[in-house]
């Protein structure tokens, strides 16, 4: 290292500027490249930077901007002369030590992959397991509270007055009670009602609430058809499917959102992958509820097939393509096929008498939706 030749370029070339990191004053300085980098301002106290402490700071092209780990953190030395910059650069061995290197990027990629794999595993195996184990443990009062909340919502949508025709109600109660006894659900654990609506459907809410929409009763041709569907909903109650779904959906939404962050700038991927994952989980639950319904109907000595026929009349043939991957229920034709296989001649008494059935059909009063 020739110490004599190094001072010359600083004067001949473009100015070297120093900011001491305490004030914004621009100081024109001269550099001496000795054992350490000596920074001298005319009339000011000289500053000395050890080469090993010098690090490169971000700068526009054509300026070498330096910082020192042992100086105030914002002190900056700006060298605009290319020759001088080169001279200083070769002396600073650890100039770029703090920058993200290729290895650093590889490390980020590696850790992200590991995180992603673990999140995917949790979504596929951990969350369903947690949902299955936790759902039965949710205290009854909490489940009922959630159920009450959803009931209020449901009533806001379908109108607050349920269908109250006394004879129809008695028939409905009889049907529900027979199914409930066969299902082995507690007496106080469930309530059931009929709501006026033009949509043929039935659903279970947390806390043992089952609602049948009136249009389903209109479309049903005999008590067995309706009973099979009610039994299916009781299956959901028995399996705590609502709470399981709640825990499961909450968990997967959170984790998948965490996984993708804002990589696409939209939530389309999150939505799509959630739909696929959740639909498959929900199809499993529906199949289990069907199994339950089949068992109950057999226990009562009735066939489960009519219920599937009713569903088929409502939905028609669904099948195929992408829709079946996203469907929340098994395809109606598959359910019909399954229940047809379980078809047995009736061995028990009819669930309702003809008069009761007629009364049930009129539970919402005639002419109402």
């Amino acid at each position: 290292m020739s110490e004599l030749s190094t001072e010359a370029p600083a004067q001949s070339g473009k100015p070297t500027i120093f900011f001491d990191g305490v004030s914004s004053r621009k100081r024109q300085v001269t550099l001496t490249l000795g054992d350490a980098l000596e920074i001298a301002e005319e009339g000011g106290t000289p500053v000395s930077w050890v080469y090993a402490d010098i690090r490169r700071a971000d700068s526009p092209a054509g300026i070498l901007r330096l910082a020192s780990t042992s100086a105030p953190s914002l002190a900056r030395l700006e060298i605009r002369d290319a020759a001088l910059a080169a001279d200083v650069t070769i002396r600073c061995m650890r100039l770029d030590e703090h920058q993200t290197s290729r290895r650093g990027v590889a490390k980020i990629v590696g850790w992200s992959m590991a995180a992603a794999v673990s999140i995917v595993c949790v979504v596929l195996f951990g969350v369903p397991l947690a949902a299955d184990r936790l759902a039965p443990l949710v205290p009854k009062p909490i489940e009922r509270r959630i159920g009450d909340a959803s009931e209020v919502q449901v009533k806001t949508i379908f109108g607050s007055s349920g269908c109250e025709d006394p004879a129809g109600k008695a028939a409905f109660k009889k049907l529900v009670n027979r199914l409930r006894d066969a299902a082995g659900l507690d007496d106080d654990a469930m309530t059931a009602g009929v709501l006026p609506s033009a949509i043929p459907n039935a659903f279970a809410l947390p806390g043992g609430k089952v609602f049948v929409l009136n249009a389903l009763i209109d479309k049903a041709e005999n008590p067995d058809e309706l009973a099979g569907i009610l039994a299916h909903e009781l299956g959901h109650l028995k399996h705590h499917d609502n709470m399981r779904g709640l825990i499961y959906n909450g968990g997967t939404s959170f984790l998948i959102g965490l996984l993708f962050g804002d990589v696409t700038g939209s939530s389309a991927v999150i939505f799509a992958s959630r739909s696929v994952v959740e639909a498959s989980y929900s199809r499993e639950a529906e199949t289990a509820a069907d199994t339950f319904a089949i068992d109950i109907m057999h226990a009562l000595g009735r066939s489960p097939k009519p219920a599937a026929e009713l569903m088929f009349r409502i939905t028609g043939k669904e099948g195929g393509g992408l829709a079946s991957i996203l469907a929340s229920h098994p395809l109606t034709e598959d359910r019909l096929a399954r229940m047809t296989k379980e078809d047995r001649p009736a061995s028990g008494p009819p669930l309702l008498t003809d008069t009761e059935w007629q009364a049930l059909k009129g539970i919402c009063g005639s002419g109402k939706i």
Partner: protein, 384 residues
């Protein structure tokens, strides 16, 4: 008072003020494009975790190539801070989400859908996050060896933003200029450069006068699509110019001559790329379907019809891959045009007056944590 800066220079016998200095942006466009392309790819393979590094690189690039009065700024924030901020924010947000859920249930029990207004609390939290994220970015902004910093309360800011937001809602948007003026005043008055204090002198009325007719045109633009980018570009250009004209830091002031049509080109280029990419993606999907049908060897109706779910899985995979490629391309385009080009376009119109007031400023202010950025990321309200 606001018009003082427009007085022709040298018309008074007083000692002439120094001529305004310019802001120079010297960033290399192709280097930026390469950086965001590589970053977008890494974002894909890291499932988005690379975003902290990419956003830091983008800021470092933009800051260090922006020179005021010949001296370039510097961004000293690092990606690890953002990552940690995000993780801490997550740890705080999770219990909040849970509490939100439980309170929501109690509200729903009381009345159907009564919990909907609770959603507003997340909006308020988002405003808080915006303020705190700005504080983080500002304390990482260094010029001439002195950092910018910020005081003020994120919650007070959030309250202001909410109250003004309600007013804007009630007046169908008329109050927007006054909202922006008020919020900007709060932000700038709590902004400091060393021992200089910031201020904002733009007022809502000026902004309103410059853009009220755009408000009238908005319903039209919503109905007639091609008009929308023009209306939005006009609005953004006027907003930027009004905002820059109002900024003061100590004795230093900014002004901008940003033309009203400055962003037409940018927005239409983005839309053009969008259309092109949509066409390419549609062609790709059509090709994928055709290929799937051909491989299955069945007539079209049957191959796509019921009962062939299993066979459509390769097609689904191809579509997902195509979607990711599309997202990647859109990501790059948005960053190149709407961040880098917009930055350059705005800066070339800016003039800085009386920069001498910042010649000897004492450094002060503490570094703020990246928690605010974490919240902003977690709530999806992140800006630059």
């Amino acid at each position: 008072m606001n018009d003082m800066q427009w007085a022709p220079i040298g018309s008074e016998p007083l000692p002439p003020p120094l001529p305004p200095t310019r802001v120079d942006f010297t960033g290399d466009r192709s280097a930026f494009r390469k950086m965001v392309t590589k970053g977008a790819m890494l974002e894909l393979v890291t499932f988005g975790f690379y975003r902290f590094w990419l956003v830091t690189d983008i800021r470092r690039h933009l800051w260090s190539d922006t020179a005021i009065d010949g001296d370039a700024a510097e961004y000293t924030g690092r990606a690890k801070e953002l990552l940690i901020g995000f993780l801490v924010a997550l740890a705080i947000l999770v219990p909040i989400y849970l509490a939100y859920f439980l309170v929501g249930i109690e509200f729903e029990r009381w009345q159907g859908f009564a919990s909907t207004p609770l959603f507003i609390s997340f909006y308020a939290f988002g405003q808080f996050a915006i303020f705190r994220a700005r504080r983080y970015r500002l304390t990482r902004t260094v010029w001439r060896g002195v950092r910018f910093w910020m005081d003020g309360s994120g919650w007070l800011y959030s309250f202001r933003a909410m109250a003004w937001g309600l007013l804007v809602f009630l007046t169908l948007g008329i109050a927007l200029p006054w909202r922006e003026a008020s919020l900007e005043r709060y932000k700038m008055q709590h902004t400091h450069y060393g021992d200089l204090r910031g201020d904002f002198e733009g007022d809502g009325w000026t902004f309103f006068k410059r853009g009220w007719w755009l408000w009238l045109l908005t319903p039209l633009a919503l109905l007639f699509f091609p008009a929308a980018p023009f209306v939005y570009a006009e609005f953004k250009a006027r907003e930027w110019r009004w905002w820059l004209d109002g900024i003061r830091i100590g004795g230093v002031s900014l002004s901008s001559q940003l033309p009203h049509n400055a962003f037409y080109g940018l927005y239409w280029k983005v839309i053009g790329w969008w259309l092109l990419l949509s066409v390419v993606y549609s062609a790709y999907v059509a090709g994928a379907i055709a290929l799937a049908v051909k491989i299955s060897g069945l007539p079209v109706a049957q191959a796509l019809g019921p009962g062939n779910a299993a066979k459509s899985i390769p097609m689904l995979v191809m579509m997902v891959i195509g979607y990711f490629a599309l997202a990647l391309a859109v990501n790059i385009i948005m960053r190149v045009y709407l961040q880098r080009d917009l930055w350059a376009k705005v800066l070339e119109t800016v003039e800085v007056h009386n920069i001498g007031a910042a010649a000897d400023v004492r450094g002060s202010g503490e570094l703020a944590s990246a928690l605010g950025e974490g919240f902003a990321d977690g709530l999806d309200v992140a800006g630059f």
